[in-house]
């Protein structure tokens, strides 16, 4: 009896799938917001229905056989080994089913690959571990990095609603326009994935690949990197802000005016003088937000990929070396990004000061925003 019951459970468990899919929106594709996403949603529903039907039919036949043909005193096993009509049928019928699936499946592939006649082109570059968006015709570009505080990831603070799905500078696009994206990568393979758009394009270093989307309605759409790219693969989300054309034009004008230099926040800062305490406390915050993932809270790092800052040669050596590697990144170790484009002069000065005077380091010097501005000037 137990055996039979367990069999029933095993047989019917997959059927729950259909019911659950309707009850919980987190168990199916996210609501489609582009024509391609709609196509994929419908195509999937169609294929899934066929597959579910096949499963149900096979389970029913199997279940029937288990019950009907179980050994009993009256039961004699018939010794046939074939039956041509049925054997032919169960080759032909699956082929026909596959042909039926293949037609809309082919249409969808053609639609996905048609990048012609786009309105706007955005170049998307995957970095370890953030994205960069460049609007080629507008000469605007910026980095887009995870903005969820480290404290939430490390369970010291409650997680907010868009945990791991929020960034500092989202991609902004107008609704209803065909956006052509050119996807590439700076270091290893990443993948740009926004479920609501039905789009996923691998970012291959050294090559560009194009894809496209046209958003139907305004909203904020979120996705994640979809190709293992190293330590912070799970921490480089994608946020797209689809807005009206008017808002998009306004945003463009804004960005042009700001001229995309993050040093703007530091320009005013350059005029002040800063004490060691100010820089240390500011630097601790920057360190926690940006550096701790690799170099660890105690500065021990994870050598050899992520060097220790405690007693580190660069961290405690000539200050020009520390500034250079933080501002411009490391050519030897691509995991160390060039932070000049993501942090202001003040933030850079603070974190460099902090690193040189923490974890047992006590170099005693401080770096001022003006020092950073000077380095920036020679190496924009």
């Amino acid at each position: 009896m137990t055996r039979k019951a367990l069999h029933i459970l095993a047989v019917t468990a997959p059927l729950f799938r259909c019911g659950l899919a309707r009850a919980r929106s987190v168990s199916n594709f996210q609501p489609p917001k582009t024509q391609i996403a709609h196509q994929i949603y419908d195509l999937h529903f169609f294929v899934q229905a066929i597959c579910a039907g096949i499963c149900v039919a096979m389970f029913a036949v199997l279940f029937y056989a288990i019950v009907r043909f179980r050994k009993s005193p009256r039961r004699i096993a018939l010794q046939f080994t074939g039956y041509k009509p049925v054997e032919i049928a169960w080759v032909i019928v699956p082929v026909l089913i596959l042909l039926v699936i293949a037609v809309p499946a082919t249409h969808a592939v053609f639609a996905m690959k048609d990048t012609s006649n786009s309105d706007i082109t955005v170049k998307i570059t995957g970095y370890q571990w953030q994205w960069r968006y460049d609007y080629l015709q507008e000469n605007i570009g910026f980095y887009s990095a995870l903005s969820t505080p480290r404290a939430q990831i490390e369970n010291r603070e409650a997680k907010d609603e868009n945990y791991l799905l929020e960034v500092d500078h989202p991609l902004v696009v107008p609704v209803g326009k065909k956006i052509r994206i050119l996807v590439t990568a700076n270091d290893v393979i990443h993948s740009w994935f926004v479920p609501a758009f039905g789009i996923k394009q691998d970012a291959i270093p050294g090559f560009i690949r194009d894809a496209w989307f046209r958003v139907d309605e305004p909203g904020v759409y979120r996705g994640q990197c979809a190709e293992l790219c190293g330590q912070e693969h799970g921490f480089m989300p994608i946020v797209v802000n689809a807005v009206s054309e008017r808002e998009y034009s306004a945003w463009l004008a804004d960005r042009h005016a700001a001229n995309q230099s993050p040093a703007r926040a530091g320009d005013a800062a350059g005029a002040k003088t800063y004490s060691l305490e100010d820089l240390m406390s500011g630097g601790a915050k920057v360190y926690t937000d940006s550096c701790v993932g690799c170099h660890q809270a105690n500065g021990q790092g994870l050598p050899p990929a992520f060097p220790a800052l405690a007693n580190g040669k660069t961290a405690t050596g000539p200050v020009a070396g520390t500034i250079h590697i933080v501002v411009n990144g490391s050519a030897k170790n691509p995991a160390m990004a060039a932070w000049k484009n993501q942090l202001s002069d003040l933030e850079l000065a603070s974190v460099i000061t902090y690193v040189r005077n923490s974890f047992g380091n006590s170099v005693g010097d401080l770096v001022e925003p003006n020092d950073i501005a000077a380095v920036r000037h020679e190496n924009p």
């Binding site: 048609d114 990048t115 012609s116 006649n117 786009s118 082109t121 170049k123 570059t125 080629l136 015709q137 000469n139 052509r180 050119l182 590439t184 700076n186 270093p205 050294g206 090559f207 560009i208 690949r209 194009d210 050598p303 050899p304 060097p307 220790a308 580190g312 040669k313 660069t314 050596g317 000539p318 020009a320 070396g321 250079h324 590697i325 411009n328 990144g329 490391s330 050519a331 030897k332 170790n333 691509p334 060039a338 020679e378 190496n379 924009p380």
Partner: protein, 182 residues
């Protein structure tokens, strides 16, 4: 033939197959490069042979020009123009500018990439800085031309072609600012 002889023969055949498949793995890169060349997914390029193509003034293809830097190259690299409308068959010249911001000469190799990828077969380059390694002197600003034309057999459903270059460093660089690995 005894069983033992048959067995030994099959053993040798299968070992040979295994060795051949290992070699096949190594044949794949040049084979892949050949397939890419034939289908237009070019990599390192040399000047293309151009047969006289008629300029098709009735059709305009929008060319977009993109630039990328790798390996932390302390350069600025940009296309002098973001876009250019061209007619198939028309000889076009565009410029890219490179600026070496560091204190020493650095060599780089530019790799071209196209979107859509299949358009590569139809972009015929007569002159390109990507044909050879470029050595840029310290603080030098250099303008480099690309002379190309779009073959008029470019499929009609391709109205836009993006040409993207990525500069990679060619080793041999010295750093004046010491970077320690620890």
């Amino acid at each position: 033939m005894t069983t033992e002889t048959r067995q030994r023969k099959l053993f040798l055949i299968l070992i040979a197959v295994a060795a051949a498949m290992f070699g096949f793995g190594y044949v794949l890169p040049p084979l892949y490069a050949k397939v890419c060349q034939l289908t237009g997914f070019n990599r390192l390029q040399s000047a293309d042979a151009v047969s006289g193509t008629q300029q098709d003034s009735n059709r305009t293809v929008l060319m977009q020009f993109d630039s990328n830097l790798r390996d932390g190259l302390p350069w600025n690299f940009r296309a002098m123009q973001a876009t250019a409308p061209v007619h198939p068959g028309q000889l076009v010249q565009v410029s890219y500018e490179v600026r070496n911001n560091s204190d020493h000469a650095i060599s780089g190799q530019a790799i071209a990439s196209y979107a859509p990828a299949g358009a590569a077969a139809y972009v015929r380059k007569l002159e390109c800085f990507c044909f050879s390694i470029q050595t840029i002197a310290a603080h030098e600003i250099r303008q480099m031309p690309v002379i190309f034309l779009i073959d008029s057999s470019l499929p009609s459903d391709v109205p836009t072609v993006t040409l993207s270059y990525t500069f990679f460093e060619v080793p041999g660089r010295q750093t004046t600012v010491k970077e320690s690995g620890t």
